[in-house]
Symmetry: C2
Subunit: 423 residues, 2 copies
């Protein structure tokens, strides 16, 4: 915690001081928007975006990274540069700075209204890894398909993951076309190829890698935090029928690769500092390379995740679930240490999804597969419609936010996508 987290601090950007904003001056997430000169790095403040390319000359020594077309150069710099930039931006944007009037005069022309901006993918994502870090999700899903042994024997030792598709990662707001594929065939018949009948969402948080490691080198868990830049929301859209037929023995492929949506704002790990939480207690202690005292004490994150559905016939979305990232079995540092434990090289801009972030209560289940028990228990929406899985026109929106008494709440913003009919 430092001055940038001071709950008294306010911004001369008035909307940043309103209760309920996701982007007070204590947050300062980074993103990339379509500017007049092409993709442009910005920082969110209230309902505005500060164009960092336009004011890069005030942001030495990281001016070049701020004038880049994506966040990769900034991600590559590491924690001390990030802290320096954050402190500088907080100073430039705060209302009680001795030079606040000058700052406002100089920077106000470089504010862009968020409502008018087109957000882009924040980084070039070289590799996307999707974990399975919620033991509740693993158990709920396992119970549907293996009621006799819901949790596989490796779960409490190995932070399981698969490599995801990077080309089909899209930014919030991009329509998601219903994919076609093969499903499990009826006995004695060949499978049918056609539009998925069980399109689902999965609510996740995802972590952007900062400085990477060289091939063949590992990152010890004690140093993992230095390699994590920040977090966004992620919707791991899934076609359950395609996935369940194809996944043996190599895991998910076409059931996932048609689209993955991420939120445009990357909330830095430094902004999350006031909201860190203890790692959950394991009945099987993690192996040495996955254990550190500091990580056990504060490796978790108290971050609320909500999923909303709005059908074309609904005026207001309905909340389908509310969970919290602090219930993950594995911490972000454990995921990163495990990922590099075989010498696999991470690079700035790589994305690590946590997997569906379900928690210990029914209201925390993070996908329709869990909520409707694979379609066997349809849910009824407020207007009387029923759902087992998603229908064309359905809009899924995720929200994420952190709250703690004595601190200003911060948000991750929204991650949204609407199911487009296959044409």
């Amino acid at each position: 915690m430092n001055d940038t987290h001071d709950p008294q601090r306010q911004s001369w950007v008035g909307s940043a001081n309103l209760p309920g904003t996701a982007f007070p001056i204590q947050n300062l997430p980074f993103g990339v928007f379509a500017g007049a000169m092409g993709p442009t790095v910005g920082v969110a403040i209230g309902d505005q975006i500060l164009d960092l390319r336009a004011c890069a000359d005030r942001l030495a020594p990281v001016s070049a990274a701020c004038a880049a077309a994506n966040l990769n150069p900034l991600m590559a710099l590491g924690p001390s540069s990030w802290a320096q930039l954050r402190a500088r931006l907080s100073d430039l944007l705060r209302a009680d700075h001795p030079h606040a009037a000058e700052h406002q005069r100089a920077l106000a022309p470089h504010l862009v209204a968020m409502a008018q901006a087109t957000m882009l993918k924040p980084a070039l994502i070289g590799d996307f890894t999707d974990f399975y870090a919620s033991i509740y999700h693993a158990t709920n899903v396992g119970a549907l398909f293996r009621p006799e042994s819901p949790l596989l024997p490796n779960y409490k030792y190995v932070p399981c993951a698969y490599a995801g598709r990077t080309s089909s990662i899209v930014v919030s707001g991009t329509p998601v076309k219903r994919p076609s594929g093969q499903g499990i065939p009826p006995p004695g018949a060949p499978p049918r190829f056609g539009p998925t009948q069980s399109l689902d969402y999965e609510i996740e948080a995802a972590f952007f890698v900062g400085p990477g490691n060289r091939l063949g080198e590992t990152i010890a868990i004690e140093h993992a935090a230095e390699h994590l830049f920040g977090v966004c929301l992620l919707n791991d859209w899934s076609a359950r029928d395609i996935q369940s037929w194809e996944y043996r023995p190599l895991g998910p492929f076409l059931g996932k690769s048609f689209a993955t949506t991420i939120s445009p704002w990357v909330v830095t790990m430094e902004a999350l500092a006031p909201f860190r939480a203890p790692a959950p207690i394991h009945d099987q202690p993690p192996l040495r390379y996955l254990h550190s005292e500091v990580d056990q004490r504060e490796g978790g994150i108290d971050l609320t995740l909500e999923a909303y559905l709005r059908s074309p016939r609904m005026r207001e979305p309905v909340r389908l679930s509310r969970g919290n990232l602090r219930h993950l079995y594995w911490t972000p540092a454990q995921l990163l240490a495990h990922h590099t434990s075989n010498g696999c090289n991470l690079q700035p801009g790589d994305l690590l999804g946590c997997g569906t972030a379900s928690g210990p209560g029914d209201e925390t289940r993070g996908c329709l597969l869990e909520i409707t028990r694979n379609g066997r228990e349809p849910i009824t929406l407020p207007n009387g419609e029923q759902r087992t899985f998603l229908e064309d026109g359905d809009q899924i929106t995720f929200r994420g936010y952190c709250e703690r008494p004595g601190f200003v709440s911060i948000g991750l913003g929204e991650c949204t996508g609407t199911v487009a009919k296959l044409v």
Copy 2:
């Protein structure tokens, strides 16, 4: 087939006319080497590399792609540009061209001896997908772990695949460090973390994607060939103990992501034209989106693949296996059509591995897992050493080549890597 395949054609580069060369004028594969000006596109001819950046002005209208730092711009151009460039290069390098003397005078200064060149990765690989296209490999491996049902019920319908790691793809010659990880624990005990005890190779061919497709669009199998640029050799190094403990339910992760080696030369699909073969007959006919008459007739490739091992105590390598790509259950066109059937977007430079290319005979088994039946039947090397899996210092080299009466043989060159001790 066209003039560039003419078996009578010879080059003024003498080494290209020697029997046994992988790179006669009928081949003309593309690669990237470390030139004086940085990464440089070249074409292999005999034991020389023609620097295409240096002679880009003779290669209009594709000069810009030839002067690029990787093959991605060339891959993006598509078959008619590739054919034009190939015809032009064949003309520039052939001995019997009316202007051969002028060509030799102008181009000879731009030849680089292969023995002196440092080869680099040929393309920026945005996504790497590894298939499982050999039914023999799937059956052999399945028999080890599920003797009662070696082949899973989806195999004859779904070209199964997983997304692989791109950051750890390295070019031939890069040492491969033995990875550490967790293996299956003994009953009642926690798993041990340490260097893999079952390091393996997997011999594969891999296809580079040319022009891609937009997210949400598919590529019909009838058009798949237009999107395939060429082929290289690929070693999908695998740590069997790590893989077998981690792979349920999401597939391979750290058991594969520590290294994947590719050969530096990309042999174009056009160079392979004389060596196409019928697709294998399926007892279960493929679904409509995976079937085309042309593909059934000539979608396979008659390409011999050989794997060699040399231990530190051996002077000469020993051949461990010889197989042929024509035995794959799925053709490259089927892999590509399946990959996009859900709307997943492919991009120029994406790499599609075929999976371990085992065939129908014991001598064709493409990895030590199959050859030693998971270590149960060690092999004896010519000098008396035994192997179950790879030991430190072991060098694995793949070779690939095409032969057909009436045509000049062409080769893929070598893909090699030596196991480095973990330090």
